[in-house]
C-alpha cells in the first residue's frame, strides 16, 4: 500500500455491496483486532462473510478475481455503523480501497476514514444505486472520482458528492495526516491547558460560583415576596421559609409538615430587621444588642398590626430566630416582608440535613438552595423568653448560658416551658 500525500482524484475499477447497515464487525471481525500492526488487516477484510459466501458456492465481490485491484467501493445506507475502531477503514484501505461511496455512513467510521486518508463520499440514494449497478455489470470499467470537481463519473452518468469542505481540502493538500497540523499549535495548547479548572483549582473563578449563589439568592427573595415557599439551609438543619404575611404560603408550610395549626411557625430575622416583627421591649433589646448575630432565639411580643392573626394563632409571643449562615442572612436582609421559618421535616419525622433527605420535598416547594459551604451545627439554638422584664432561658442550645448571663442583665435560670417550644 502506497501512501500518497496529496489526493486529488481516483480512477479505477470498483466493488459494490448492496446491503444496508454493514457494521464494522462485519468489515473486520473482532478476533482480528488483536493484530499489533495493520499490515495483515487487508487480507482479513469481510473475512467471515467471504468464507460463508464461499461455502454456499457463491462469489463474494471481494473474492472476485476480476475486481482484485479495485480501488472504489460502492455501498448503500449506514455503511460502517458500529465500533469506533479504526481497524475497519484500515482493513479496507490496506486491501486496496481508496474511496468508499455511499448513501450514508456511521459517523465514527467516516471520521476514521478522514484521518487515514480513505476518501469517504456521500451521494444520493439514486446515485449510490446507479453506481452499484454500473459496477456490478462492468467489472473492468473505471469509476472516476474528482475531488476538485466534486463529482463521481461512471459510464454515461455523473453525480455530485458531499464531503466536508475541511476534509476535502486536507485530502487535496495532503494535510489529511493530521498530527503535523495539530503539533503546529503547541503554544496555544499549553496556554489552554494551564487555564483549565481541573488542572489547577486556582483557575476556578470563585466569583463565578459566587455569582451563581447570588442568582439563587435573588431568586429566593423574589419567590418569598411573591408568596412562594423555599427550602434553605438553617444552622443545624434545612428549613422551610416563606412570606409570613401571605396566608396561602403559610398554609402550604403547615401542609408540608402535616403540622397542627395550634403550633405556630417562627420568624427568621436579623438585628436590622427584628423591629419589623416584634415590640422591642427592654428584655428583647438587651438580648439582641448583646448577642446577635448568634444562635440565640427569642420569644418576644409580636408586633400587633404587623403580624396577622392567622400566623400567630392567638399567641402574643413570637419565636424569632437569627439567620446564622450567609445565604439565610443575605435573604433576610433583601426580603421586604417578614419571613417565617420552620424546620424541614414531615410530621413526626427527622429534619432534613442532606441532599437525600431533601428529595421528598423537592416537588413540594418552589426552590431549594442546598448547603455546599458549611457544616451543619450539631446543636440547635438557645431559646430565651423575652416577653417579660427578665429574660428566661427556655432551652440551652449551642450558645452557652453562662455567656448569656455574663452579657445580659437579669437573666433567670433555665425553666422549660413546653408550650412555647415550637421549634
Amino acid at each position: 500500500m502506497t501512501i500518497v500525500d496529496s489526493i486529488c482524484e481516483i480512477k479505477d475499477t470498483g466493488i459494490a455491496l448492496e446491503a444496508n447497515d454493514i457494521d464494522t464487525d462485519r468489515i473486520i471481525p473482532a478476533r482480528f483486532l488483536k493484530a499489533l500492526s495493520f499490515t495483515e488487516l487487508g487480507n482479513q477484510v469481510f473475512y467471515d462473510e467471504r468464507k460463508q459466501t464461499q461455502s454456499r458456492g457463491q462469489l463474494h465481490p471481494f473474492d472476485d478475481v476480476l475486481r482484485a485491484n479495485a480501488k472504489v467501493l460502492a455501498v448503500a445506507k449506514n455503511f460502517g455503523c458500529g465500533s469506533s475502531r479504526e481497524h475497519a477503514p484500515q482493513a479496507l484501505r490496506r486491501w486496496g480501497i481508496e474511496v468508499v461511496i455511499g448513501e450514508s455512513f456511521g459517523e465514527i467510521f467516516r471520521g476514521n476514514c478522514a484521518s487515514i486518508g480513505l476518501v469517504c463520499l456521500t451521494v444520493t440514494r439514486d446515485g449510490a444505486a446507479a453506481l452499484r449497478a454500473f459496477i456490478k455489470e462492468n467489472p473492468g470499467e473505471n469509476v472516476h472520482v474528482d475531488l476538485q470537481e466534486k463529482t463521481v463519473s461512471f459510464g454515461k452518468d455523473e453525480f455530485p458528492f458531499s464531503l466536508s469542505e475541511a476534509v476535502r481540502e486536507r485530502l487535496i493538500s495532503g494535510r489529511w495526516n493530521i498530527v503535523k497540523e495539530l503539533l503546529s499549535n503547541k503554544q496555544q495548547t499549553r496556554t489552554l491547558f494551564e487555564q483549565l479548572p481541573y488542572i489547577s483549582d486556582k483557575n476556578i473563578n470563585t466569583t463565578d460560583a459566587m455569582t451563581n449563589k447570588n442568582e439563587k439568592i435573588t431568586k429566593a427573595v423574589e419567590i418569598i415576596e411573591n408568596g412562594g415557599v423555599v427550602i434553605l439551609p438553617a444552622d443545624t438543619v434545612y428549613g422551610i421559609y416563606g412570606n409570613a404575611l401571605d396566608e396561602r404560603s403559610v398554609e402550604r408550610a403547615f401542609g408540608i409538615k402535616g403540622r397542627k395549626r395550634s403550633k405556630p411557625l417562627g420568624i427568621v430575622s436579623s438585628r436590622n430587621k427584628i423591629s419589623d416583627v416584634v415590640e422591642l421591649n427592654d428584655s428583647t433589646q438587651d438580648v439582641i444588642n448583646s448577642c446577635w448575630p448568634a444562635p440565640v432565639s427569642v420569644i418576644a411580643p409580636k408586633k400587633v398590626g404587623r403580624i396577622p392573626e392567622f400566623f400567630s394563632g392567638g399567641e402574643d409571643g413570637l419565636l424569632v430566630v437569627n439567620a446564622q449562615n450567609d445565604i439565610l442572612a443575605e435573604i433576610v436582609e433583601r426580603t421586604r416582608v417578614p419571613i417565617y421559618s420552620t424546620t424541614c421535616n414531615l410530621a413526626g419525622e427527622d429534619e432534613a440535613r442532606t441532599s437525600e433527605d431533601l428529595k421528598p420535598f423537592q416537588d413540594l416547594v418552589d426552590l431549594v438552595i442546598e448547603n455546599d459551604s458549611f457544616e451543619f451545627a450539631g446543636t440547635p439554638s438557645t431559646i430565651v423568653n423575652t416577653m417579660s422584664e427578665n429574660p428566661i432561658v427556655i432551652r440551652e442550645g449551642s450558645y452557652p448560658v453562662d455567656e448569656l448571663i455574663s452579657k445580659v442583665s437579669d437573666v433567670s435560670d433555665v425553666s422549660v416551658d413546653t408550650k412555647m417550644l415550637i421549634q
Binding site: A30, G82, S84, V179, L183, P197, A209
Partner: protein
C-alpha cells in the same frame, strides 16, 4: 451572567485550542484513557514519526479486552493476546505513562476503572479508543470514542480534531416499574427512535428517572448513547455525582474539593439552554426488554413475542427482518419462552458494576432459584474493586451458590477478544451492548441483549424470561 448554554456547549468551548473552520475544532482532551486493543498501532506510528507523549500526566493505561477472566497469569495462553500485553508494557515504559496493570491488580474495564479512580470528572473532555467511551458522560463530561489515528494525535499533542454537534435533550419522566433498570431505558429509547436517530447529536439525559439513578445506572445509560447513534451522551452533575467522587484516588481534596464542587455545579445546562430538539419518554411505561435480531432497534418486551412478518415495510426492511430471523433461528410471532439459551453473561462496560451484581444477588437470594441445568452463566466484574466488593458483601457467594461463575475482571464475552467466546450456534442472554453477527466470538453465535436482571431470569428459566414474572414478590 445568565446564558443559554448546555453543559456540552460549556465544556466544548472551554477546550477549544483553535477553530479550524467548517465546524471543526482542535479540541484539548483533559483525560485520555488507553487500552491494549486499539493503541499498539498508534504507538507504532508515533515511533515512526519520532514523537513522544506531550502530557503524560493526562494519559492513563489499562488492559481489559484481552485479559483472561480465569487466572490472569502471564504469559497468557493466547499468544496474540500475550504479545498485545507485552507491547503495551513496552509502550507505557517508553512513553512514560501510568499503567493500571494486572500485575498490580489495578486493571479492569477502562470505563469502569476510570470513574472508580476518580479520574473521570465533570467538565472534562475525555477520549478513549473505544466506542463506549460515552460511559464517562454520566459524570457531566464530554466523552468521545475515537480511532487509532486520533489516539496517536492525542498522545502527541493532547488534542484532536472534533466537529461541534447539536444537543438533543432526552427527558425520561415518571418512575421506573419494578425490575426495570437503566438498561431497559436505553434499549427502549433505541427501539423507539431507531439506532441511527442520534447521528449528528450529543444526548443530554435528564428527567426524574435519571435524577433518581445512581452513578452506575447513569453510566449504563450513557454507555449505550452511541448505540442510539449519538456521538456521546451525558448527565448533568449533581449531588449524586459529587458523593460518588468524594475521596476517590484522583479526586481533589480539601479546599480544592470545595472549589471543584462549586465549579462543577456551574457546569449544568442553563435553564434557558437551547437544544436542537427534545424527546420525552414516559419512564413508567418501560418494561424489561430484549433484542431479538442483528441490530439494537430489533427489540421487544421480553413478555411479548418475536414480531410477526406482517408489519408495514418496504423491501429493504423486510430483507433486514428476514435476515435477522434466519440468522437468529427464530420464527415470526415465536414466543420468547421457546427461545432456549446456552449461555448467560452478566458483565461488560455496560453492566459490570457492583450495583448490577448486587441487584441480581438480591433477587437470587430472595427467590432461592438457581441457574438452569445446561446453562453456562458468567458473572464478570468490571474491575478488581467491583470483585472485592462482591466478595466482601457476600454477593459473589450468592451468585456462585446459584450457579454463576464469578470471574476476574475484563471485557470477557462482550466482544470475545479473549478466551470467553460463544461456541458454534450458541445462544447467549447478555448484559453487554451489541448483538451484531459474530460479536461474541463465533460467526454463528446468537446474542440477545438485555439487563442484568433479565439475564438472571433467563439463566434460571433456561430460556428468555421476564424478571417481572420470575422475580415477582411472593
Amino acid at each position: 451572567m445568565t446564558t443559554n448554554k448546555t453543559l456540552y456547549d460549556k465544556v466544548f468551548e472551554q477546550h477549544i485550542v483553535r477553530d479550524l473552520g467548517d465546524n471543526q475544532y482542535q479540541l484539548f482532551i483533559g483525560l485520555h484513557l488507553i487500552h491494549e486493543a486499539t493503541s499498539p498501532q498508534a504507538f507504532e506510528m508515533l515511533r515512526e514519526l519520532n514523537i513522544g507523549c506531550a502530557y503524560p500526566q493526562l494519559n492513563f493505561v489499562t488492559a481489559d479486552h484481552v485479559t483472561p477472566t480465569i487466572e490472569q497469569v502471564r504469559p497468557l495462553n493466547d499468544q496474540l493476546g500475550e504479545s498485545m500485553l507485552a507491547q503495551l508494557e513496552k509502550n507505557v515504559t517508553e512513553f512514560g505513562l501510568t499503567y493500571f496493570s494486572p500485575e498490580k491488580r489495578k486493571n479492569g474495564i477502562v470505563h469502569v476503572i476510570g470513574p472508580e479512580y476518580g479520574l473521570t470528572q465533570p467538565g472534562m473532555t475525555i477520549a478513549c479508543g473505544d466506542s463506549h467511551t460515552s460511559t464517562h458522560g454520566a459524570f457531566g463530561s464530554v466523552a468521545l470514542g475515537i480511532g487509532t489515528s486520533q489516539i496517536r494525535d492525542i498522545i502527541a499533542t493532547q488534542t484532536m480534531v472534533v466537529n461541534k454537534l447539536k444537543v438533543r435533550k432526552v427527558a425520561i419522566t415518571g418512575e421506573l416499574a419494578e425490575k426495570v433498570s437503566a438498561k431497559d431505558v436505553i434499549l427502549h429509547l433505541i427501539e423507539k427512535m431507531g439506532p441511527k436517530a442520534g447521528v449528528g447529536y450529543v444526548y443530554e439525559f435528564s428527567g426524574s428517572v435519571v435524577d433518581a439513578m445512581c452513578m452506575d445506572e447513569r453510566m449504563t445509560l450513557c454507555n449505550m448513547a452511541v448505540e442510539a447513534g449519538a456521538r456521546c451522551g451525558y448527565v448533568n452533575p449533581d449531588q449524586t455525582t459529587f458523593d460518588y467522587l468524594k475521596d476517590r484516588e484522583y479526586a481533589p481534596t480539601g479546599d480544592a474539593w470545595e472549589r471543584a464542587v462549586a465549579w462543577w455545579a456551574l457546569l449544568t445546562s442553563d435553564e434557558q439552554a437551547e437544544y436542537a430538539d427534545t424527546v420525552e419518554i414516559d419512564g413508567t411505561k418501560i418494561r424489561p426488554l430484549t433484542t431479538w435480531g442483528l441490530n439494537l432497534g430489533q427489540t421487544i418486551p421480553i413478555r411479548e413475542s418475536i414480531p410477526d412478518r406482517d408489519f408495514p415495510s418496504d423491501a429493504q426492511e423486510l430483507q433486514t427482518y428476514d435476515e435477522a430471523l434466519d440468522f437468529m433461528g427464530l420464527k415470526p410471532a415465536q414466543k420468547t419462552e421457546q427461545i432456549k439459551i446456552d449461555v448467560a453473561f452478566i458483565g461488560s462496560c455496560t453492566n459490570g458494576r457492583f450495583s448490577d451484581f448486587k441487584l441480581v444477588a438480591n433477587e437470587l437470594k430472595r427467590s432461592g432459584r438457581k441457574v438452569h441445568a445446561g446453562v453456562k452463566a458468567l458473572a464478570v466484574p468490571g474491575s478488581h474493586l467491583v470483585y472485592d466488593q462482591m466478595m466482601e458483601s457476600g454477593v459473589a457467594k450468592t451468585l456462585t451458590d446459584a450457579g454463576f461463575e464469578v470471574r476476574q475482571p475484563g471485557c470477557s464475552m462482550c466482544l470475545a477478544m479473549n478466551d470467553d467466546k460463544l461456541i458454534g450456534a450458541e445462544v447467549c442472554a447478555s448484559s453487554s451492548n451489541r448483538n451484531f453477527k459474530g460479536r461474541q466470538g463465533s460467526p454463528k453465535g446468537r446474542t440477545f441483549i438485555m439487563s442484568p436482571l433479565s439475564v438472571a431470569a433467563s439463566a434460571i428459566a433456561g430460556h428468555l424470561a421476564d424478571p417481572q414474572v420470575m422475580f415477582s414478590e411472593f
